[in-house]
């Protein structure tokens, strides 16, 4: 079944020209059709949501609008005038501003220096005057920013405000926000939306990329959905559609919600993962974990929440023994309670491409790289048996991994993630540690990954999961541990977790 088709919006002949009109943008990379005949129209004073799965072509579309890529075909109009932005500088001159998802600020510089980098002022920087201009602009747009602060010391939410301010000071009339909420605490999302409302009231156009439907409903006037490089829903009012219909438009088929009923944690269950007063240093020598106490019982899923860089990565590494402790203990036990021999834990690292993949080896070879017993044939590996087990694992986990002969260097990030997930989660492990397990996956595979982790929990594993998606944590975890600045800021039972309260803990306040 297909979603209702609205390929072209109604004619606006006689109406004032749109702020931005993209007509028929098409772009291919080799055999991959990233965008096929894509339209996007944004009015002044409009918030337009752009949604779609990873790989649906959102980034390609935005990069063409911003002049990073050149479209193979299609036209673009700003205020009704045909334009061809050949590079970001030209796009900026046309009044198009882009706030990238991985913010492009220089962390070591101050806010004002970062603004100076984007504004073409003279050879001498004359920071005092610039600081005053930033203060004025930040007041007039309600973007609270200290121009003299070093960006490294700012929270993600504050950095985002700097990016938006920078864009506005460069004269943007159309502000494109690429997944701005994915890394924010709920409070920060709220204040971001206040800023967006303000921009809208000033008559600016805003394009916001998000796949969170509650956000679309909260902020967007119209919505465009891409799937496999094509427009599925064109500039529709979100209120006219149910959540199910919108998800189906993105994914191409219905996705069942995660079952909420599950067996409660046995309070007498064994503790399989125990951290007591764990301290460790980060890469730059500063203390990254400042005394962490944490237990995970058999059959329990504990979620770790926190804004990026609160110590989640270091926590993951100390649990797996990848980072030395400066003090404290980490204990990983087998189901029978004895301290673990190696390979009791299944690990899904934050960056599997860097941490659990040998790029030149094949999918099949990766399947025996997990430290478990390898099927032998004489002195070598019984590859036929490994192949059989791989097929079995793939069928069981259901993430549809790439062909066994493919080398990992030729796979996309999402496909690599699926190989790692399949290897780690196809057999039972007493302790499962997963950092951002569904990152980079499409909605259907992300859902399947969540189900597999819950299956491990149901089978009696102690699961520790780091995620930046509070909805994911609330729907999956038994307890949510909120980290802030290397400490445990609070522990909340997921059943009665309040997003705003979690957000306050993430930002270092009291619940």
């Amino acid at each position: 079944m297909t979603a209702p088709s609205h390929r072209r919006p109604p004619s606006r002949i006689g109406a004032p020209p749109a702020l931005l009109d993209v007509v028929g943008f098409t772009k291919s990379f080799g055999d991959v059709h990233a965008n096929t005949d894509v339209d996007l129209s944004v009015q002044r004073g409009e918030v337009h949501a752009l949604a779609g799965e990873n790989g649906a072509g959102k980034s390609t579309l935005l990069k063409m609008i911003f002049g990073v890529y050149e479209p193979d075909a299609g036209r673009m109009f700003v205020d009704g005038q045909p334009v061809t932005p050949g590079n970001p500088a030209h796009a900026r001159a046309l009044g198009i501003g882009m706030v990238f998802q991985d913010l492009r600020l220089v962390p070591a510089l101050t806010v004002a220096e970062n603004v100076a980098l984007s504004l073409r002022t003279g050879f001498r920087l004359r920071m005092d005057g610039l600081v005053r201009r930033i203060e004025e602009a930040s007041r007039s747009y309600g973007l609270d920013v200290d121009p003299r602060a070093q960006v490294r010391t700012l929270s993600i939410g504050e950095r985002q405000r700097v990016e938006i301010l920078k864009t506005l000071m460069a004269g943007a009339r159309l502000v494109i926000l690429d997944e701005p909420t994915s890394v924010l605490a709920p409070q920060e999302v709220q204040s971001l939306f206040e800023v967006v409302e303000r921009l809208k009231a000033e008559g600016l156009g805003v394009v916001i990329v998000t796949h969170k439907l509650n956000e679309v409903r909260a902020i967007a006037d119209r919505m465009t959905i891409l799937r496999r490089g094509e427009v599925v829903l064109n500039a529709v009012a979100p209120a006219d559609y149910t959540d199910g219909a919108l998800i189906e438009a993105m994914v191409g088929r219905a996705v069942a919600p995660l079952p909420r009923q599950r067996r409660p944690v046995d309070p007498a269950g064994r503790t399989l993962l125990a951290l007591s007063d764990v301290r460790t240093d980060g890469d730059r020598g500063y203390e990254a974990l400042k005394g962490i106490d944490l237990d995970v019982r058999a059959g329990e899923l504990v979620g770790i929440a926190g804004v990026a860089g609160s110590g989640q990565r270091e926590l993951f590494e100390v649990v797996l023994g990848l980072r030395p402790l400066t003090s404290g203990h980490v204990e990983v036990r087998d189901v029978d309670g004895v301290p673990a021999r190696p390979r009791v834990a299944a690990a899904i690292p934050e960056d599997p491409v860097a941490d659990s993949v040998v790029p030149g080896l094949s999918v099949l070879q990766h399947m025996v790289l997990d430290g478990r017993e390898v099927p032998r044939k004489g002195v070598g590996v019984d590859w036929a048996e490994v192949g059989r087990r791989t097929a079995e694992a793939d069928a069981k986990v259901g993430l549809d991994i790439a062909a066994p002969r493919r080398t990992l260097s030729g796979l996309s990030g999402g496909n690599i993630q699926r190989v790692v997930l399949t290897r780690e989660l196809s057999t039972f492990s007493p302790v499962v540690v997963a950092a951002y397990p569904s990152r980079g996956l499409d909605i259907a595979n992300a859902r399947r990954t969540q189900e597999v982790l819950l299956e491990q929990r149901a089978a009696g594993a102690a699961v520790l999961m780091v995620s930046e998606d509070l909805e994911e944590l609330i729907s999956m975890a038994d307890r949510i541990v909120v980290m802030h600045d290397g400490h445990v800021a609070g522990v909340v039972a997921a059943a009665d977790a309040d997003r705003m309260a979690l957000g306050r803990l993430m930002l270092g306040g009291a619940a």
């Binding site: 510089l109 980098l117 984007s118 050879f123 890469d283 020598g285």
Partner: protein, 302 residues
Amino acid sequence: MIIDILSGGVRGGTSLLFAGLGETISERAGVINLGTEGAMLVGALGGYAVTFHTGSPWLGVLGGAAAGALLALVHAVLVVSRGANQYASGLTLFFLALGLTALFGVDYVSRQITAFTPVKIPVLGDIPVVGPVLFDHDPLVYAGYVVVPLVAWVMFRTRAGLLLRSAGERADALGVNGYSVVAVRYAAVVSGGALAGIGGAHISIAYANSWFENMIAGRGFIAVSLVIFAMWHPVNVLLGAYLFGAALSLASVLQANGVDVNQFALNAIPFLMTLVVLTVLGKRTLRKAPDELLKVLETAKA
């Protein structure tokens, strides 16, 4: 004798100062150049040769700068354009410079030049202690006093410095703002090489007033580690350069004062100091490291 050691530190540290500033500029843009030793060598020979042929040490300084810049340009082509390993390229260029300067330097061994001579600054030079330590030196030493604030000013107060620091901290940010990371890194590496070349020229036309094979004797490598202890700040480079300069000139000062010590043991002092500082500071030196440089440094960590 204390005054002699301090004065020797300033004089002997000037080559380290220029080379260290050059390496600071290069590393601030995200490129480590182990070829600094090589740039100093070609700078020393280039400076000496130009001074010999023209009779002007000032033209010699330009010759040294040009020779250092040229060698650094090769480094820039290899690592910025070709993406070669920065350590491999730097070390190779050092050995290349060592061989080339030995080859072409033969003609200049034992030749006389009109070298720089100490110029005592009126009034300031007569202040007790401070005068002889700071204000009774050759002109390149004074140039060092000017270059440090100049480099700091450019680095922290101008657009050029902003681009430099951005290239070393977050190269993506430059591209997004319409600047070329490649151009910024080329400019940084080449000007860093020119400063190292001037540092080398100071050795041959102001300090030793002669040319001989391998006359830099590791100063370039000291300059590279100096930049790390100096946490990539020009003013710290100045202090560190004079400290290491004092260690380098300790042997000659003690001998001149009739103290009977083993010269070879004294020559090891700067390198032992480097080891001690690296051991004590360890990972802490990386706190101020430019992020892009950190990526390069991390690849060399065990």
